[in-house]
């Protein structure tokens, strides 16, 4: 017993020693300036031509350069970066010309060949973002310029080139490490551990499920960033507030509205940006699985049964509700539509026309996204008042996606975030075209009256030439979608991050999030 007591005392001494071990700089690490960011990772690949989620976009924006860019959080004006650009009159040929000297992290200069290779690799490897350059031919003109040629008018081409999947990689290094211009490309593994970009930072250590550490690119030709190291930690949203307030982090990206309102405004600040993400209800149109949810009168009943203002109140301040699927801050967004008004009486009329028998209708949503379960409950209680019985079905994000893709759902809460800030990025909500996309169980032209009703509006939007007629065409398209389409836009959340007040120049861009190189203290 005495020996056990002695052991217990030794253990207590170790615990006390641990309690004293806070902070301090490692003699090995030196006093480098480190910016620590807490984020709940959304990441499937660090390969810039494969990365398609928020975390990949944010990190790769600081590691790679693109031909064109935006400044800060302003998404209205495209700025030259590695190249300048010029579009021809019918928006089919975009010419890029090298703009100054840019160097990769191994000291080699960025060339036209690297840009051409990067774009062709994006097309060839058939990854998620490969569709961004669908129908575009990339060609080197000379050592200073290249062209991107579309089959038809494509005014959104410059916007596309800003997206992180259009990052410029070093051709020789990627080829040496398995890079190929085909789906058999084997460079993903190398590009997950090693960066080959010309941005202000480069990878130091990457563990895609826990933390990503960046260090300065010694050859970066732009303004030197303030911080030597960026540490991005995968931290559960519930722990981020305490980490930030306890001094463990400088920026927290996933604190909820409720929690942020309780933080000391002298010590912490909120940096907002309008997110490019719209949350909406989506109705399965494949009748054998969807049942009543495929009925257009039922969908119209739902459109008038929801109290949209209550949802905005629930999500928090700065939340907006575009009346279409295109969010505000992208041209073509609409503010209101008569088909999306809260009108229980009208909802009951449509419901009676639909022949709904009162049976349960499943509403599936991701159980990992903040507020979604409350939104689902709000929708359930609103539509209950007009006689619709909703059964809530929370699922993991992967399960929800899987069931949606297989057309096994009835109603789901979904979201769409823009890859580039142009209304053309939202054509995925249009009916499928069997001529282009093959036969599908989903909503498609030639199989549904509502789909065929949309077609002329979709074609008008695609073929519009000048900016004003484009915007009008997309607005008309959205009004038509509101009238007959299987979607109900619910809200566009504000996007914000919480930072220590001592930080400066923290911007929150709708495409890539935080620009690490711009942050200082």
């Amino acid at each position: 017993m005495r020996r056990l007591c002695a052991l217990a005392v030794s253990v207590m001494c170790c615990v006390s020693l641990g309690a004293c071990g806070n902070g301090g700089n490692s003699a090995k690490g030196g006093a480098s300036k480190t910016l620590t960011i807490d984020q709940t990772f959304a990441l499937s690949s660090m390969d810039p031509q494969r990365a398609f989620e928020a975390t990949g976009y944010e990190v790769n924006h600081s590691v790679y350069e693109t031909a064109l860019t935006y400044k800060g959080s302003d998404l209205t004006k495209i700025e030259p970066s590695v190249t300048t650009y010029k579009m021809n009159d019918d928006n089919t040929v975009l010419t890029l010309t090298m703009n100054g000297e840019h160097k990769f992290s191994d000291g080699k200069t960025v060339t036209v060949d690297d840009i051409v290779y990067s774009y062709q690799r994006l097309q060839a490897i058939k990854g998620n973002p490969s569709y961004l350059l669908d129908g575009i031919t990339v060609k080197k003109v000379d050592d200073k310029s290249l062209t991107l040629t579309a089959k038809s008018s494509m005014p959104q081409m410059p916007s596309i080139l800003v997206a992180p999947p259009l990052s410029i990689v070093e051709k020789s290094v990627v080829e040496k490490n398995g890079g190929k211009l085909s789906p058999e490309d084997g460079a993903e593994k190398y590009l997950t551990d090693n960066s080959v970009g010309s941005g202000p930072y480069m990878y130091d250590k990457v563990a895609t499920d826990s933390s990503i550490i960046l260090k300065r690119n010694p050859y970066y030709t732009g303004d030197k960033p303030y911080y030597d190291r960026i540490v991005l930690n995968n931290v559960a949203a519930t722990s981020q507030k305490m980490n930030l307030e306890g001094g463990n982090a400088d920026i927290a990206e996933n604190i909820s509205q409720d929690e942020s309102s309780k933080m000391d405004s002298n010590s912490f600040a909120k940096v907002s940006g309008m997110s490019l993400s719209t949350w909406f209800l989506s109705f399965n149109t494949y009748a054998p699985n969807a049942g009543i949810a495929a009925n257009t009168d039922f969908v119209s009943a739902m459109k008038h049964a929801i109290d949209y203002d209550k949802i905005l109140e629930l999500i928090g301040p700065d939340t907006q509700r575009p009346a279409g699927l295109i969010p505000f801050s992208i041209s073509g967004a609409i503010k209101s539509d008569p088909n999306l008004t809260y009108d229980p009486a009208k909802a009951k009329e449509y419901l009676a026309k639909s022949g709904y028998d009162g049976s349960e209708v499943k509403l599936i949503y991701s159980d990992e996204t903040a507020h979604l379960s409350e939104v689902a409950q709000l929708v359930q209680s609103d539509v209950k008042k007009v006689g619709i019985n909703i059964k809530l079905d929370p699922q993991t994000p992967a399960n929800r996606l899987s069931q949606s893709r297989e057309n096994k759902t009835q109603i789901s809460i979904s979201n769409w975030g823009a890859d580039y800030p142009d209304p053309a990025n939202y054509v995925s909500f249009l009916p499928a075209d069997p001529a282009k996309d093959g036969e599908t169980k989903g909503w498609s032209y030639g199989k549904s009256d509502t789909a065929d009703a949309i077609k002329p509006y979709a074609e008008a939007a695609e073929n519009a030439k000048d900016e004003d007629s484009r915007i009008k065409a997309y607005e008309d398209l959205q009004h038509k979608l509101d009238e007959v389409g299987p979607y109900i836009p619910l809200y566009q959340p504000s996007s914000f991050v919480m930072i220590k007040s001592s930080l400066k120049n923290v911007t929150n861009n709708g495409i890539w999030g935080i620009d690490y190189a711009a942050v200082s203290a």
Partner: protein, 374 residues
Amino acid sequence: MTNTAESAEPAAQSPEDGAATARKAGADTAPKRRHPLARYIIRRFFVCVLLVWGVGTITFFLTNVVPADPAAALISDKVAKSNPEIVAAIRHRMGLDQPLRVRYFIYFRNLLHGDLGTSSLTTNPVSRDLARAFPATLELSIIVFVLTVLISMFLGLLAAIHKKTLLDKIIQVFSLFSISMPGFWVAMLAFYIFFFRLHWFSGGGRLDSSLVPPPTVTGMYLVDSLLNDDPVAFTNALSHIMLPALTLTFLNLGSLIRFCRQSAIEAEQSDYTLGARAKGLPSRTVTIRYVFRGASLPILNMTGLTFGALLSGAVLTETVFSWHGIGEYAYNAATSLDLNGIMGSGLLVGVIYIFINFFVDILCGILDPRVRVQ
């Protein structure tokens, strides 16, 4: 002349020859020596190998028959709708276009070469991911295990010795608290009080972000920082590990305290203990050499299971403290439908349990001769 070879009487033997003959005769007739412990170990080892195969098979089928498409998590809506060749390419990359039996065969063939496949979540080989995550869990588990065993044996024995007194009741109530409280809640509370409010310990993660981790030797920061003579990293890593370690210790104490107490009470009431007391041995001697030793075997079994559970990773605690170990890896793999990650984690946990039980059984065999004879 007679045939002396056939009819000759055996030559008279010298005493030395006689002794040698007698020894040889003795050796021929003595019973063969047995090595029950060696046979026991070999037998158990082969059973373990079979169990590993069984665990791997069950894990494979349970993972691959879930009614969800693991490729869905990796394919965007735009691509899923209008780019079937991209969908096909991604599915081919993940091996999902093969029939189940072919995937089973490929999986086990690769397993024999130590290849657990590639994680669709991290794009790393699963073996590499597990090799990165496991030291974090191992480091935490060792500390928790030592603390849990020491404290629970101390309190369990104390409670047994002072059975039915106020001290015994206090210890039992404490153990009930430990068993009853939800782990996630305790972790959040500990994080809030001891890090956020009192600043006694560091926050989440294994090391302050401003510090460079020590060069990897074992992957355990405490060990690596000592090996690399980095006292700042050592104390900082210790400060980070103590809060999750104390939380997990608290959560594991309750059941082990009660088990130690019960085992000690049973040992104390056994005949050999009563005999020792009857002989007039001092109370301290009886406690240590009879009660403690008698209770050690069942406690050893229980602590083995506890260690196995710790090495499997505590998902909730690891999530709260951002301790990127096996538990968090397995959770992320499960929610992302990363099939290879799920199978790899499941197999690792199964192997851990199997081999910990194996070693515990061997230890029992060494400590208790009755086990090996049986």
